[in-house]
Subunit: 252 residues, 2 copies
């Protein structure tokens, strides 16, 4: 196979994000070291998006040119044997033609997990944002509805990595509280055709202002319309964020 | 209040178990340091049972003589502010009379979590035993039924901490596979009036032999009847084990 598409899960807690950076332990760096050991030469990988330090993935997609005789299943096993236990290859596919993990993506889904309770959940400390106030998940859901659709999301874009245009389409933005053991967990999922830098975390920080009762749901529509990042809520911390899946156009 | 009953949750990953040991970081050690800072003198705590290194708690119960003017809620807040983020006080109760967390316990529930899938779950690596073979949870449930009731559990007691007698009563021992996102998770819960040393982990290791198809369900009844630890399966690793709750006789 010439090209490979990998689906990865990783716990981002111990990494300075996806992208290779000098002197930092990154997921890309660890992946490329393992790949080089397996195929016997250096390999440059590309992910569907660069997750930040502390952000997790349930289904990150990574592509690279392999030019190897290995079967995809053998490559997967060899990688899982070499990778540290906080990274796992869930699937490996061999492709004949080139594959661009960023440009070919048509839809991505992120999940953000909030634990709202006066006392911390020790098991969620790396996997959820702990908010002591009880959140009004229904009000957050109402506010979220005005973000669904095609809009200019400048109000929810952090400085530092400006995209050429800031219009994106959000297909779905459910907010739901768990039941039973999950009754102190509020989950926000965002599915869109693409995301601006820190867009999910800025939306979550803004919805939490509504959930706390500091702002009414209609305020979120005003923030969106203002195209002014200064109007939105704070950026939610990275460790509650999970890249859930990336969908691609049908391969030729 | 003179005596205090605390309910704790902790992630045991970073600790050498509950009990204070020289030169080791233990949950008891960290708790007693925090308590001493709050009440201004050394405090000796006792837990319902000594969890081993790597074992977790959702509802460990700890008692101690406090002799303090602090309200229980204030003590809880002060402890949660001082304790590391992998230990949390879920509840604090003040008692006038003495309370013995071991002797006064009438029922305890443990949970053991197994992730059975060819590829590891990176998020469960500290909170589940990863077994690559697909387990037959129904066969494990059938085997588990013969352990319910009052029996001599010598076959499931590790050497090292012999109890005066090895008869215990298991009230319930459900084995179930999750659904949806939990479809690769087999959970075993054991509720009993008391447990021998490593009893849960020896039972789990034995049930997994059945789940793998290495032994038929009736074999577990034969192991129990033999009263011979050498007949049982291996001891399951500590990191899949959670102390869920401890029930006490009604306080006077």
């Amino acid at each position: 196979m010439r090209y490979v598409k990998l689906t990865l899960a990783y716990d981002g807690s111990a990494y300075a994000g996806w992208q290779v950076q000098p002197g930092q332990r990154t997921i890309q760096g660890v992946m490329e070291t393992a790949l080089a050991e397996i195929v016997g030469r250096s390999v440059r990988t590309m992910a569907s998006g660069r997750t930040d330090a502390g952000v997790h993935a349930l289904g990150q997609v990574v592509g690279f040119r392999a030019d190897t005789d290995l079967e995809p299943e053998s490559l997967q096993r060899a990688l899982n044997a070499r990778l540290p236990c906080d990274i796992a290859v869930l699937e490996a596919l061999g492709l004949d033609g080139p594959f661009h993990p960023v440009r070919d993506a048509v839809r991505k889904r992120y999940r953000y997990v909030i634990h709202d309770s006066p006392v911390r959940n020790v098991f969620a400390r790396h996997y959820a944002w702990h908010v002591r106030a009880r959140l009004d998940a229904a009000a957050m859901g109402t506010a979220a509805k005005c973000l669904v659709g095609t809009h200019d999301f400048s109000s929810f874009e952090s400085a530092g990595a400006p995209r050429p245009d800031s219009v994106r389409t959000i297909f779905a933005l459910p907010v739901f509280r768990g039941q039973g053991d999950g009754r102190n967990v509020v989950t926000i999922e965002i599915e869109a055709d693409g995301f601006l830098y820190n867009m999910v975390r800025a939306i979550v920080g803004t919805l939490v202002e509504v959930g706390r009762g500091a702002r009414p749901p209609v305020w979120v529509g005003e923030v969106l319309a203002s195209r002014d990042r200064g109007r939105a809520g704070p950026t939610a911390p990275p460790h509650g964020l999970f890249l859930v899946k990336v969908e691609y156009r049908t391969m030729p």
